[in-house]
């Protein structure tokens, strides 16, 4: 039974846990090979992106199939602020958050009136339409994109400190901070309000919650996080280009959120790991199984899709639903 102090003790635990997780990640990054470190950086990026969906869909109940586009907004803002204002890297991340949040606020004000499939359709159109705009304006660098350079790791980290480890540190730290902030936010009355208006907007309004404003806020915050994820993603490939933000990216992060259980922050890591691991695993399996070229080239796609369908059919509420079920049945 949770006690009366449940709330603050939860936060206390978190305040201790997060630095520990950070330390563990740091130690881990020194032990695994470079490929894993690179993939770790990708996992961290996806953690941020998935949290942005968890906040939006799992809490405020809005669906977005266009978060890839918001990631693009963040990435372009970051790289432009680097090119034109020569901002230090850390500040470019803040610019990414602010720009995407601002964009999200405008979009959210329009989207706040939409529900379910209407919102899905609008955001999907955004995902298809927005990145291609980069080809319309020369300063956005076109298809070959703009180089986004977070620089080499500082010299004091030693000569063995690889670029990818540096990426991992940056994105890992960002993911850790975002997870912690979201943990607080979603545990606060904001999170509660969002969950309430998701299940019964009328009743929520009667509680004094400004439903429209609340939804726009969720969209804004979620967009800001997506913007950060976009900048981090651009960092891992050192480039901001429209094709880095395809429609499939939007789908991937929503998929990650579903695999994460949509409402659970800790699930975001599971979702992110799966997203990063799937292409490698299915690719390896395909080579292992062999077959004609037609077959091997489509096998990874087939396996990924089957996995996805099975996951949604068997565990529609994510991994923690299974844990809950097993816990219940063992009682």
């Amino acid at each position: 039974m949770r006690n009366f102090l449940g709330h603050s003790s939860r936060r206390l635990k978190a305040a201790i846990a997060f630095p520990l997780i950070g330390l563990a990640l740091f130690l881990l990054s020194n032990r695994v090979d470079e490929l894993r470190v690179y993939q770790g950086a990708n996992v961290a990026v996806f953690v941020v992106a998935i949290i942005s969906i968890i906040l939006l869909t799992g809490y405020s109940g809005q669906i977005s199939l266009g978060h890839g586009a918001l990631m693009a907004v963040g990435a372009y803002a970051a790289v432009l602020s680097q090119i034109y204002w020569h901002l230090p890297v850390i500040l470019t991340f803040f610019v990414a958050v602010l720009a995407a949040a601002g964009f999200g606020a405008i979009l959210g004000s329009a989207a706040g009136r939409l529900t379910g499939p209407y919102l899905a359709g609008t955001t999907l159109a955004l995902a298809v339409g927005l990145p291609s705009l980069a080809n319309q304006f020369g300063f956005l660098g076109g298809e070959q994109g703009l180089n986004y350079d977070v620089g080499l790791p500082p010299a004091w980290l030693g000569a063995d400190f690889t670029q990818y480890k540096w990426f991992f540190w940056i994105s890992g730290l960002a993911a850790l901070i975002i997870t912690w902030l979201s943990f607080n936010l979603l545990g606060s009355h904001y999170g509660r309000n969002w969950r309430a208006l998701r299940s019964n907007p009328t009743a929520a309004a009667l509680m004094g919650i400004h439903v429209g404003r609340s939804k726009v806020l969720a969209f804004t915050v979620s967009s800001g996080l997506a913007g950060l994820a976009g900048a981090l993603l651009a960092m891992t490939i050192s480039l901001v280009t429209p094709s880095a933000f395809p429609t499939s990216l939007s789908f991937s992060i929503v998929t990650g959120a579903v695999l994460a259980g949509v409402t659970l922050l800790t699930g975001s890591i599971v979702g992110a790991v799966v997203l990063v691991a799937i292409p490698e695993i299915t690719g390896a399996l395909a080579t292992h199984l062999g077959g004609s070229e037609k077959v091997t080239s489509n096998l990874p796609g087939l396996l990924t899709s089957v996995l996805l369908i099975v996951a949604v059919l068997l565990f529609p509420n994510g991994p923690q639903a299974i844990m809950k079920r097993t816990r219940k049945s063992s009682q």
Partner: protein
């Protein structure tokens, strides 16, 4: 004047194709409340089957009904094998809205992979059932050909048939009742599972129609209908998702506004325009042109 006229004709022939895809999406939406992203995959699969028939018999009009039946069967199978379980397991809670999105996206990937395994990634093509040479008046060839006429007529026919089915028949009422409240529909004696399967079959057939009609003017590959799916979805949302007439009109609005912008503003703005048109419509009418009526809150 002629320029405007031609542009609108181009818009109509493009838009009618979006309408066809939108109709298929609305059919599934109305009969199961699922936005079916696998629709493009189903249409591709049926079209490949049609393609096989054409390459073996050289007869489009034989391939057409076969593709249609294949589409219907695929739709039915998908419902039986996947959607039923999905509806049982993910019908409520925060995932209810997105679980079907993920499942149908997964299905799209699955069908694409299967098609890729069987037919490979090469571009293919089959012969036009009717000419694509624009109608000619004197020296003037207008950008509207018998094939476009065929597509427009088919769109209207599909729309009318299904509108009648939905609004005027017991099957239509059963479809709608099963989609909204399966349990109550059961209590009214409706065989809900069967009814929903029929809905999926209808949509599968409509998707096959779209595939068989669009492909001759473009080409066939595992991905060749992806963009059409997005345009179709946008058209359906513009139209309001609840209405087949809305889907048809939404497709035309999208097609014509795209054509106008590409002609008069910039020919490379295709994607942003779709977004702007959509937002413009939804800002005025958040549930589309012919959307659901506003409901009471308490």
């Amino acid at each position: 004047m002629e320029r405007l006229f031609n542009t609108i004709l181009i818009g109509v022939s493009g838009g009618s194709i979006y309408s066809l895809m939108a109709l298929a999406l609305v059919l599934v939406w109305r009969s199961t409340r699922v936005v079916n992203f696998a629709q493009a995959g189903q249409a591709i699969l049926s079209t490949y089957i049609g393609y096989e028939v054409i390459t073996h018999t050289d007869n489009y009009w034989l391939a057409f009904p076969i593709a249609l039946v294949a589409g219907a069967l695929t739709g039915a199978l998908i419902d039986i094998l996947m959607v039923r379980t999905l509806m049982k397991r993910a019908h409520s809670g925060p995932v209810a809205g997105i679980a079907p999105v993920i499942a149908t996206l997964g299905l799209l990937g699955l069908i694409r992979a299967i098609v890729g395994m069987i037919w490979g990634g090469d571009l293919r093509q089959f012969k036009l059932p009717v000419s694509n040479h624009g109608f000619t008046f004197g020296h003037n060839t207008i950008p509207f050909a018998p094939i476009n006429l065929l597509i427009v007529v088919t769109t209207v026919v599909v729309m009318l048939i299904f509108s009648v089915i939905f609004q005027r028949t017991n099957l239509g009422l059963s479809l709608r009742a099963s989609a909204y409240q399966p349990e109550i529909a059961r209590l009214a004696g409706i065989r809900v599972d069967l009814t929903r399967t029929i809905g999926w079959a209808f949509a599968g057939a409509a998707g096959a129609v779209a595939g068989m009609l669009v492909t001759p003017t473009n080409y066939l590959s595992p991905n060749s209908l992806d963009l059409l799916l997005v345009s179709g979805f946008v058209a359906a949302v513009i139209g309001g998702l609840e209405s087949l007439v809305g889907a048809a009109v939404g497709g035309l609005i999208l097609g014509i506004s795209l054509a106008l912008v590409l002609e008069y503003i910039s020919s490379s703005l295709a994607f942003p325009v779709a977004f702007v048109v959509l937002i413009a419509v939804l800002l005025v009418k958040p549930s589309g042109l012919i959307g659901a009526k506003r409901t009471r809150h308490a």
